[in-house]
């Protein structure tokens, strides 16, 4: 028994010594021989294990690449979301650039400072102040139209009210000068809160849906010709001697971004042609579009067609073209890749319209030509900053 145990111990020792000896030999073996032995082992005994290991590594790589793929997808989705907002901002800035080009001078570009406290939907804090020449009552505009009016001014900041402010008032008229009135917030509930109403329109002046309303220049705060909104329809009021129209603002609240503040000298000079002149109005935007930016091209063409449609409707009412002819005419087509499609007016529309007007023979139906309301009048000292006191409502019998 003792011999058996001793022999087993010797065998163990021998095995250990042998294994250690071979290991040491492996350590000092030439590199070429090491590589040969390793290659033989990997190709024979260890081949199945090497295969399993390589497949596992492949699975891990697939999992890792899957994670990478998911991360890339997430980044792309995030960028897609931000790209849309950047594109919208880009379009707004380009349109503002076009407006700046048309105004040429007499304005200050301003950014809106985010509100620091309770959210106020009716006022804006601008990053320009009296150091930049901004004064109270300065109009705040965008490429789409009127935004509001500067209410108070600090050295480097100013505070403006938007058209949605309950104190906002602007003397306005239809773009064909057939109706005058005062535009003020609708003060409805829900979504109607973000609409305007044109009050005090003479009863005989009926406006069609879609009629463009612009500032009339009366009162001296807002220059003549700034788009305010478009008529949605007439609403019933207790005032039976005048009409009140619901107006969709030209500048929607969500679209209010970088703005331009018109300086006093520019307001005195007026903005004639800036929003209304088709030839020069969109030259800057078209120049940008010609540069090859598809976004700018689309925005410029949208703006171009909107203005053209507004002027066409105005001309139709003025008798330049027959509005009835336009009913049968093809609608204004949206801008296409091939270029704008200009609606064709029937050539006989002018004659038909003039004949009809001559047959009517009513004196009061002939509108007196272009009696321009008085230019800007200086707001009286101590006038209400809201503009109530600065606005002069046109007399009912003034121009008609």
């Amino acid at each position: 028994m003792a011999r058996s145990v001793r022999n087993t111990g010797r065998i163990d020792t021998a095995l250990v010594v042998a294994c250690l000896a071979i290991s040491l030999f492996g350590l000092v073996m030439p590199a070429k021989m090491r590589a040969t032995v390793s290659t033989v082992l990997r190709g024979t005994v260890l081949a199945p294990f090497v295969t399993i290991e390589s497949r596992s590594a492949g699975v891990r790589a697939a999992i890792a690449s899957r994670n990478d793929l998911l991360q890339v997808r997430g980044r792309v989705a995030t960028q897609a979301l931000t790209a849309q907002s950047v594109a919208d901002e880009n379009a707004t800035l380009r349109r503002l650039l076009g407006l700046s080009s048309r105004l040429r001078d007499g304005f200050v570009a301003a950014e809106i400072i985010p509100s620091r406290g309770v959210e106020d939907d009716f006022t804006l804090t601008l990053n320009v102040g009296s150091n930049a020449g901004v004064l109270p009552f300065s109009p705040v505009v965008m490429a789409d139209g009127l935004v509001g009016m500067v209410q108070s001014v600090d050295a480097n900041t100013s505070f403006a009210i938007t058209w949605a402010h309950p104190d906002f008032r602007v003397s306005a008229m239809s773009v064909n000068e057939s109706a005058f009135g005062i535009v003020q917030p609708h003060l409805g509930t829900g979504a109607e809160r973000w609409l305007l109403e044109l009050r005090g329109v003479p009863f005989r002046a009926k406006l069609d849906t879609g009629t463009l309303i612009v500032s009339s220049g009366l009162g001296g705060t807002y220059p003549r010709g700034i788009p305010v909104g478009t008529v949605l329809g007439e609403i019933a009021t207790p005032e039976k001697w005048a009409r009140t129209y619901l107006v969709k603002p030209s500048v929607l609240p969500a679209a209010i971004g970088p703005v331009l503040v018109l300086l006093p000298q520019r307001a005195v000079r007026g903005v004639n042609g800036v929003w209304a002149n088709m030839t020069s109005a969109d030259s800057a935007a078209r120049a940008i579009a010609a540069a090859g930016d598809s976004l700018a091209r689309r925005a410029a063409l949208d703006e171009l067609f909107a203005r053209r449609a507004a002027l066409d409707s105005a001309n139709a009412v003025n008798g330049v073209t027959d509005s009835t002819a336009l009913v049968g005419a093809p609608p204004i087509a949206p801008p296409t890749a091939g270029g704008p499609v200009i609606p064709q007016t029937r050539t006989d529309s002018l004659r038909a319209d003039s004949v009809r007007r001559s047959q009517a023979g009513r004196v009061d139906s002939v509108r007196k030509p272009t009696i321009i309301p008085p230019a800007r009048t200086t707001p009286p000292a101590g006038a209400s900053p809201s503009g109530n006191g600065a606005q002069v409502r046109p007399p009912a019998t003034g121009v008609r």
Partner: protein
């Protein structure tokens, strides 16, 4: 009586063999999925679990073959794993009466020390690592690997105890 003991030993050997093969397969199939600076070393677990079941001589041979497997896959350190694993397996077989009692924490400590010692010997003998890298490898990553390996070993002993339970000799 003698036949019953022989049958029991045969069944135990069979179960141990299955456990060993499973660990070897896990070394090649599972380890690549979680490869990193600190990972589970199923091969060390397999060799240590085998070493405590067999005589020191045979344990040394098993360790030698395990080291040969490692060296064949990494020819630049050829011989280092063989040498270290042979010594480790032999020592493990010698100390099995200390570590493989019914106290499972001691088994975890055995695997932890075994894996750490293997890393120390393997790095010192086969790898040309020096300075700070050597200290970080031996004092940070190797203990972490050893701890993970010991944890997995304890899980195996707890969940699949029939395969990896050591027989008192």
């Amino acid at each position: 009586m003698r036949a019953r003991e022989a049958s029991s030993e045969g069944a135990d050997f069979f179960r141990a063999s299955i456990g060993f093969v499973l660990l070897i397969l896990a070394y090649f199939a599972v380890r690549p999925l979680f490869s990193g600076r600190a990972s589970v070393d199923f091969l060390t677990i397999a060799i240590l679990f085998t070493a405590v079941r067999v005589r020191p001589g045979l344990a040394a041979v098993v360790g030698f073959l395990g080291g040969l497997t490692i060296d064949a896959l990494e020819p630049t350190t050829f011989g280092a794993a063989m040498l270290v694993m042979t010594l480790l397996s032999y020592l493990g077989s010698r100390t099995k009466t200390v570590f493989f009692a019914d106290y499972i924490a001691l088994t975890g400590l055995f695997v932890f020390l075994g894996k750490w010692l293997f890393d120390i010997g393997y790095v010192l003998v086969g790898r040309g690592v020096h300075g700070v890298d050597l200290a970080v490898q031996l004092l940070v990553w190797s203990p972490i690997s050893a701890a993970i390996t010991a944890l997995v070993a304890l899980l195996l002993l707890t969940l699949v105890r029939p395969l990896y339970r050591a027989q008192a000799t």
